[in-house]
Symmetry: C2
Amino acid sequence: MKPTIRDVAHKAGVSVGTVSRYLNGLKLREYNRIKVEKAIKELNFKENIIAKGLKNNRSMTIGVVIGSLTDIFATSIVTALERTVERENYSIILCDYEDDVDRLKYKLQFLRDRSVDGLVLFPSIWPNKIINNVNDYLHNNIPVVIIDDDFPSLETDKIMVDNMNASFQAVERLIEMGHRKIGIINGSKESSTSKERSKGYLNALKKYGISKESDLVKWGNYSNEGGYSATKEMLLSGNLPTAIYATNYYMTLGAMVAIQELNISVPHELSIIGFDRFPLSEVIKPAL
Amino acid sequence: MKPTIRDVAHKAGVSVGTVSRYLNGLKLREYNRIKVEKAIKELNFKENIIAKGLKNNRSMTIGVVIGSLTDIFATSIVTALERTVERENYSIILCDYEDDVDRLKYKLQFLRDRSVDGLVLFPSIWPNKIINNVNDYLHNNIPVVIIDDDFPSLETDKIMVDNMNASFQAVERLIEMGHRKIGIINGSKESSTSKERSKGYLNALKKYGISKESDLVKWGNYSNEGGYSATKEMLLSGNLPTAIYATNYYMTLGAMVAIQELNISVPHELSIIGFDRFPLSEVIKPAL
DNA sequence: AAATAAAGTTGAACCGGTTCAATTATAGTG
DNA sequence: CACTATAATTGAACCGGTTCAACTTTATTT
């Protein structure tokens, strides 16, 4: 059987309370500290995190809810997150809701039942449908952090990407390079980030007195395939852009494939700029 | 305060033991069952998974250790895995070891300390360095499943991809189509899957009496960039292949970029076949 | 050296479930 | 109907930690 705190106490000749104090970093008398440390080492004692959690009602876990595990934007953030929480001895329970509201709700409940000590929520396209679930966390004083999504009615911490401004700058850059016919591949019509990115595009056009052309505005649903077909559609419509702005990584990839397939040379015939950093960016010549 | 099993027992007028039996699916007398169900509903009782775990020493969690969260091969398996364990009310603690042995060891220990009920281990390139850690699980009767990696000395369950054979078939296919100069973009020299895939390639060549040409064997380290530069190198070496076999998804992508950049047309001048299913496969014309 | 303050230790009770020996209710038998 | 056999219930003890009031030891003051 695994040694317990009582075994340690017995071996060291002190009380359980003393061992507990040691484990929690409180001060012991020198000679007791030495005895406890010796006993811990000899028994190879490891504290039981579950038992610990029972009394102080902490699970030392953080729930992370993510639309899809194959979304590189989200997973790269989770990687950094994991590295951070690990330092405090927390672990991450990762839930993929497969871009489905009901599964999202289910997962939020699931994590509640596991008494996670905190929640990190990645963007979904139905912010209003899960307000109750999120409030359930807040009312129980469980901290919630929302990543890059628009929940105006919820009092949670948020980490926002300045989508509108980033978008504006990207498009402005193209305009400064002389482009006047700039196509955009938007994400999905429901998502708040997509709306923001679209707004930045429109604002940039407006600032420079360029009128919006509907042929040059497509929706690619944030996916490889969507970006591919939106780009094909745009480039085959007859009304050719001189630059394309793809509003995420996957659609940029899809756009690249479409462009190369149509034998359009970048950047001579067409410029392209994409949101998100792009593993292949460094490799492609001319670089994006 | 959250209601406990004792509150339920009190409200229903039965003992805690009876409520516990109900929660564990044992039979109650009809009238007791009704009272308990009513009390649970009225109090909105949820069982405390942590307390449950303390007595029977189960954490209802499964540790999953993965080289990189941005590896689509691994994450797509994790997605399916999560969906499966969720049905049994298990959750997944995901650990990304960032392709680093020490972090891998640390993570294995970390998950042990959290008393996970099982471990799923994704391939690493240092199988021998973690044997002790894995044995620590096995000696404590914690089931371990190893995914597509070669641990001949460990008595764990394994899920293997038949890398050698799949590789053989891919290459054989190319040969049957008339190719004689077939390039391969291998993964990394240390990984067992890569060795297997390489072996399949060589076996196919041997079967058809084609001799190996070193110009046509490159290593791409399983990455986009690696695939890209390996392909560039091969295609610029002067000794041109008529077909290329890229041994994973990322390198296939990198190879495609390289090929299109060199203005080589697929499949007229060059055929390409890739290991792993490929989100863009459907979209690219001619299809891979 | 005695009185007081501060620091450290003790161990029983607790967290919210499960378990099981003892007990009680129901069903089956002749 | 009495007598078993079986099924269901009870509640105290337990899982492995934390906590805190009561106590002991050490340090400081006078």
